[in-house]
């Protein structure tokens, strides 16, 4: 075991994920990734409420912790302690299993997400296929939840969501295929479905697939970006849980812990599909301009970003401390915010240390790119009204699907010609 740790820390030997006999690191990564995703979901929860509030000229959570930082934890505690209600008419077993399926489906996808060339739980050679397959299993959980509730609104919500997820998956899949086609544009002419392989192909071709065969890559990416919102049931495609129509759609009858599992699954799925988009079109873990701005100087400059980001966050915290009202009522909050800032600052300083810096860089860029998508999710939610069911189907089948098919064919033709 110690050998693994030392081999990881030494500069010469790089451990590749998915190697035979590398069980130790797989277990370690499982814990890190799943813990990290859970923390990200909590952070996302806070961020969404805060950002949405600021879009809507509100303050959002302000009371629990400085600027509501502890609000998600308070919410989680509240949900855990709520009474567990199963409607008497519900199918208890199915009702019980449904949230677990959604949760498992969205968390299992992280097995193949490459946070860096060596930072992944495993590197399946059918990675992208696995990811699409597993993430589409969550529709099963939605249907089961809707059916088991034995109630009208959840049933309609479940029907809507199954139809929606199935139809958007096709456009999504076609967009993915066109990106996979691009990986085969090398001397050997062999493409790959491996998530790490796809990023390596972008590295080898010196271009993000977003800009490959411009504008084909861009169109495929946009199709995927639209389909992934529909896939995760988020605004403006949040019909299955349309609050104003179906009260809460498929999880109307759920409360407390079970409901929070749905939420956890939904946010985890959002991050998962965003990481597919990042891997396929935005160069995965690669830093910006890996080929244009080369050399040790640029490497050094870009490797400072993680530390600088954390120092920036710490600075924001300290500005918040300075602006906090000088009243005894706010003393605990001020100290808390200062402490939080200090922790962030310390992390930032640690990230400047060369060995850490080199290892953390890939993860940093990957997370930063995924973060952009997360912000877009919130932005859409604040801006768009909700589509109607038939319009949603129309967009899926009559607009996205033909375009995706066209892009796929055009990509193939262009690839052959080039």
């Amino acid at each position: 075991m110690l050998d693994y740790i030392t081999s990881y820390l030494s500069d010469t030997v790089k451990v590749t994920p998915g190697q035979v006999g590398n069980v130790f690191w797989i277990v370690v990564y499982i814990f890190i990734v799943f813990g990290g995703v859970s923390v990200a979901v909590i952070a996302m929860n806070w961020l969404e409420r805060k950002a949405l509030a600021h879009f809507q000229i509100r303050l959002g959570p302000m009371r629990v912790g400085p600027h509501g930082l502890l609000q998600p934890i308070a919410d989680a505690l509240k949900l855990f302690t709520k009474e567990d209600i199963i409607p008497s008419a519900a199918d208890k077993l199915v009702f019980w299993i449904a949230p677990l399926i959604i949760l498992c489906a969205s968390f299992t996808t992280y097995i193949v997400v490459p946070f860096g060339p060596t930072h992944a739980i495993t590197d399946l050679n059918i990675g992208i296929l696995f990811m699409l397959g597993v993430s589409s299993l969550s529709v099963l959980g939605v249907v089961m939840a809707g059916w088991a509730s034995n109630s009208h609104y959840p049933l309609i919500g479940a029907l809507r969501s199954s139809a929606q997820m199935v139809s958007y998956e096709i456009a999504m899949g076609l967009a993915v295929v066109s990106a996979v086609l691009m990986t085969s544009l090398n001397a050997a002419g062999t493409g790959t479905l491996s998530m790490i392989g796809i990023v390596r192909a972008q590295q080898a071709q010196h271009v993000w697939f977003l800009f490959k065969f411009f504008p084909l890559g861009l169109i495929a990416f946009v199709i995927f970006a639209i389909a992934m919102i529909a896939e995760t049931n988020r605004a403006p495609f949040d019909l299955p849980e349309a609050e104003s129509e179906l009260t809460a759609g498929f999880h109307t009858e759920y409360s407390g812990l079970r409901w929070s599992l749905f939420m956890l699954g939904e946010y985890a799925a959002m991050i998962a599909v965003s990481s597919i988009a990042v891997t396929l079109w935005l160069g995965g873990w690669m830093r910006p301009f890996p080929n244009a701005l080369t050399g040790d100087t640029w490497d050094a400059v870009f490797s400072l970003f993680p530390g600088l980001t954390f120092l920036g966050l710490a600075a924001i915290c300290f500005v918040g401390v300075a602006r906090m009202p000088k009243h005894p009522y706010f003393r605990v909050q001020t100290i808390g915010l200062a402490g939080f800032g200090a922790v962030l600052g310390l992390i930032g300083l640690v990230l400047f240390a060369p060995p850490v810096r080199d290892r953390i860089q890939d993860i940093y860029w990957f997370v930063a790119k995924v973060g952009v998508f997360m912000y877009l999710y919130i932005w859409y939610r604040a801006t768009f009204p909700r589509y109607r069911f038939d319009q949603l189907m129309k967009v899926g089948w009559k607009v996205l699907l033909p375009i995706a098919l066209g892009v796929l064919i055009a990509t193939a033709v262009w690839g052959v010609l080039v």
Binding site: Q56, L239, T383, R386
Partner: protein, 384 residues
């Protein structure tokens, strides 16, 4: 006889238990507890999948017997009760009631009072339309306009609060005029609001008017023809969106509306989008009226000579005004005593709600929500 039925016939299975899953038709109860029925409206929906086969409104969950209460109160005492009907347009309710009783008593409010009444009523119309826009957009899924409209509605409510101490159920007018003189800076506050409002309305329109999803969700949804509107007695912006140029402020001018120059915006197709446009235009027209009114409030008394004990002569009166939601009428029967013999209110929301069924038949569940929003009903007024 197929093999399967032959095999099963001796079992005498009989009909399986019928549940809602066995039929194509689905009966859904929307409300009275539902986030989008604007209070406690209960709509029983008959659905085929997502398609609406028919609706039935069940009302009365907010019934407080306002009309009955009137029979046991003096004319003055009943005045605050009318504010509780359409609580988002309380000023309009009060105006209608006060003018009806004034007609019955054969007195007339002084011009200054009438101008104050017009200003407050138009501010209230803006507030009511803003609330409609926010909730309507929220029902269709756009969250953000709600907060913008509430931010701007707050300015109006602040003016109300400064004027009469109340924000929502204002009881701003009295029979014979107004009780309160305008406070110092009233005109300045209103002017400030008029100056800032157009850009705010532009802001809402920017979010919605050309928004593709908004247009798709509202165009051709809940269409109602002018003929149907008139047959059902539908009034207000719903009627005007169907192309009928009918506004009581122009048709039977009351208060001081004769003095102002404004237009009646009308729509063409009578769908939800047209109703949205009509109301947005109406907000701008209200600003126009306010602009003309606020500069030239005449000097003079604000209260006419009203008898201490009001005993209207035996008779009956029907007086209606253009409330933000449509024609708000009061039918008052006097038996010569201090209390009305009967007060019947013609609430616009109640009458407009009738149109729900023909507007949503054959459309989808999501459209029911859009149409309830576009009808702009307030359940306090529907049930009274």
């Amino acid at each position: 006889m197929t093999d399967a039925t032959k095999y099963l016939s001796h079992l005498e299975l009989g009909e399986p238990d019928k549940t809602f899953l066995d039929s194509n038709e689905l009966i859904i109860n929307m409300g009275p507890q539902h986030p989008a029925t604007h209070g406690v409206l209960r709509v029983i929906l008959k659905l085929d999948g997502e398609k609406v086969l028919g609706t039935e409104c069940v009302i009365g969950y907010l019934h407080r017997g306002v009309e009955k209460i009137a029979e046991h109160r003096t004319y003055t005492m009943f005045n605050p009760y009318v504010d509780r009907m359409d609580y988002v347009a309380a000023v309009s309710n009060g105006l209608g009631y006060c003018e009806a009783v004034e007609k019955l008593l054969n007195i007339e409010a002084p011009p200054r009072a009438n101008y104050i009444r017009v200003i407050l009523t138009e501010l209230n119309r803006l507030a009511s339309h803003q609330l409609w826009l926010g909730t309507h957009a929220l029902d269709i899924g756009a969250m953000t306009p709600l907060f913008y409209t509430f931010r701007d509605r707050e300015e109006i409510l602040k003016i109300f609060e400064k004027y009469c101490g109340a924000r929502l159920t204002t009881h701003a007018f009295r029979i014979g005029g107004c009780l309160y003189e305008t406070y110092d800076g009233f005109e300045r506050d209103v002017k400030k609001f008029i100056d800032s409002a157009p850009s705010k309305i532009d802001e809402y329109e920017e979010l919605l008017t050309t928004n593709r999803i908004w247009v798709e969700r509202t165009k051709g949804v809940g269409t109602i023809s002018a003929k149907d509107c008139i047959a059902l007695g539908v009034t207000g912006p719903v009627l005007r969106a169907s192309g009928v140029k009918w506004d009581l402020r122009k048709a039977q001018p009351y208060a001081a509306y004769r003095d102002f120059d404004f237009e009646i915006p009308i729509g063409e197709s009578g769908d939800t989008y047209d109703r949205y446009l009509v109301r947005m235009q109406e907000m701008r027209q209200s600003l126009r009226i306010l602009e003309q009114a606020v500069g030239k409030i005449p000097e003079g008394p604000i209260m006419a000579k009203v008898p201490k004990v009001m005993k209207p002569p035996v008779g009956e009166i029907y007086h209606s005004i253009e409330a933000p939601k449509g024609e708000l009428g009061y039918f008052i029967v006097s038996d010569g005593s201090t209390q009305p013999y009967r007060v019947r209110v013609r609430p616009p929301s109640f009458v407009n709600l009738q149109a729900l069924d023909i507007m949503v038949r054959g459309q989808l569940v999501a459209d029911v929500i859009a149409v309830i929003g576009t009808l702009d009903i307030v359940l306090g007024e529907v049930d009274r």
